[in-house]
Amino acid sequence: MNTLPGWLEAGAGESRFRTMLSPDSPYSLEQLAAASRAMTMRRFGRTMTLYAPLYLSNHCPSGCAYCGFASDRKTPRRRLEQDELKRELAAMKSLGISDVLLLTGERTKAADFDYLRRSVETAASLMQRVSVEAFPMSTAEYRDLAGAGCTGITIYQETYDQARYAELHRWGPKKNFLERLDTPARALEGGIKTVGLGVLLGLADPQEDALMLFRHIRHLGKTWWRAGLSVSFPRIRPQTGGYQPAFPLDDHQLARMIFAFRIALPDVELVLSTRESPGFRDGMAGLGITRMSIASRTTVGGYTEPDNHEKGQFDIFDDRSAESFCRALREKQLEPVFKNWEHAYNGPSTETRKAT
């Protein structure tokens, strides 16, 4: 087993976070919800920034036990060519989306760095903001990607439990736990402006994972103090009949976790995807979550081929249209924000020095 970096060890200033998260916490869920809502209002106002994922490719050499794109799945493999990508982006734009997250599997010949960089360029020419959730890259590659117009990277550790990590990542490049752990730092070093972290809830002890994730965020925030940071809360739902989580997390536990992150990290963007139900998403809007995906397709080409019945990377629960989702937000007196970013600001961060 590899040695973990020092910053993943217990540190000062986390006792409150631990206390809020604990199942025998002295804080009731209602108390946390009230504090979390107040903090969210103060820091983010009555707004919700919206984005949508766009799957560039589902080629993948990895054998992640929980993933619909693992290399032993029967799913047909394809990648979008640049003209197809433009059509997908146009379809997304017609839904009002101008903030896109481009996704691929782990690095393959079909979807390698050059392909990704070209795709970022294409997307950046049409969208206000382009972020990427793909494979770990080198600092130089991240610099290149930032130059092509990528402003954000999402990279989930999935779990910080090394034993579970080793079990779940059966083969492929993602097996390297420490390399993945170091990836957000490389992205920031390379001039990527925002980094999103997360654990895939259900894979391991959620409280332990949340605590490690908290430490990871704090470490990045102190070291790359100019960076924008976000935390996502992807959860495996047993109900969908797919991969069965060993550590299922119910709505109450997930809500508690989101509130704890909001209260402990007032400035960090908290993200919730369409994996979650309309009821849960509407309820959490304004209470702590500040960024949501909408009208999502998790198949390659999903925006231009809506009748395609292929299996996506994960099952979507909230399949409302952008319009009806925005209506729900407005009913809660929240302003849907499609453009929270000016295209002119795209480009690598000029200050990538880190604090020592």
Partner: protein
């Protein structure tokens, strides 16, 4: 052993004492001894043959375990502070320098821009730079990047005894900093020093509050105890305030009754 680590220097005391404003050198020396301070600030002044008692080097050096931290007071620009630091190092034999630059002698507010410039230069020259700064979190991070050994934000205006008026900002600086944060200036009473330590400050620098008290050695001892107590409390982990208020109408009813 919980100690204050500054570069290769280790101090068991987290109270840094200033030596100005005392009624006499004797009283000051008694206060330094009573405080247990191991890092003591001094200022450069012109030699005056009429006042041989002004020279504190020998009396301070005779106290075992004392490291001198000269300041650059009197400097109103980065260039002056850099020159003062170089001179001070000749005398002190210690790499510590408290960078203190105030362009206006009336209120003695630190100039953030000149302080940053001077600190950058001095850190490159191998000084242990300890800049006295406004409680500005971004400035603190910039100084950290510039290679400072610590940052010393003010609790409130120097000599004002207004305590931790900048608590909100100090809290951010402490949370975000990877170098020791030392509250300098504004502290009036031991409880305020203790509070700063409970917040997570690495040390506290006190001068006026001790020097102008009715009994400086006794006050120095009180500060030492408060700083020690605050530090212990911080390390132990302070109990959360109870009762985050709950909303009057339920916010989480959408979750159903749960499992």
């Amino acid at each position: 052993m919980d100690s204050l680590q500054l570069g290769s220097y280790t101090f068991s005391s987290r109270l840094i004492l200033g030596t100005g404003k005392f009624s006499s050198t004797t009283v000051m020396l008694d206060a330094v001894k009573a405080s247990g301070s191991q890092l003591v600030t001094v200022a450069l002044r012109r030699f005056n043959r009429e006042q041989p008692g002004d020279d504190l080097f020998s009396p301070l050096a005779s106290i075992p375990g004392i490291t001198l931290m000269p300041n650059t007071s009197g400097a109103s620009t980065a260039a002056e502070a850099v020159q003062a630091a170089r001179i001070a190092r000749e005398l002190s034999g210690s790499p510590f320098i408290k960078v203190e630059i105030h362009p206006n002698p009336q209120h003695l507010m630190p100039d953030p821009i000149e302080t940053y410039e001077a600190s950058k230069i001095l850190a490159k020259e191998g000084f242990m730079v300890m800049p006295y700064i406004p409680a500005d979190p971004v400035l603190a991070k910039r100084l950290e990047e510039a290679g400072c050994a610590s940052v010393m934000p003010l609790g409130s205006a120097i000599g004002s005894g207004q305590g931790l008026a900048t608590a909100e900002m100090l809290d951010i600086i402490i949370r975000e900093s990877t170098i020791p944060v030392i509250v300098d200036a504004g502290i009036r009473s031991p409880s305020e020093a203790g509070l700063a330590m409970e917040m997570g400050c690495a040390a506290v620098l006190v001068n006026s509050a001790v020097a102008v008290s009715g009994n400086p050695p006794l006050m120095a001892e009180a500060f030492a105890e408060a700083v020690g107590a605050g530090r212990k409390a911080f390390r132990a982990g302070i109990m959360e305030k109870s009762g985050i208020a709950a909303a009057t109408s339920p916010l989480t009813s959408f979750l159903g009754s749960g499992t």
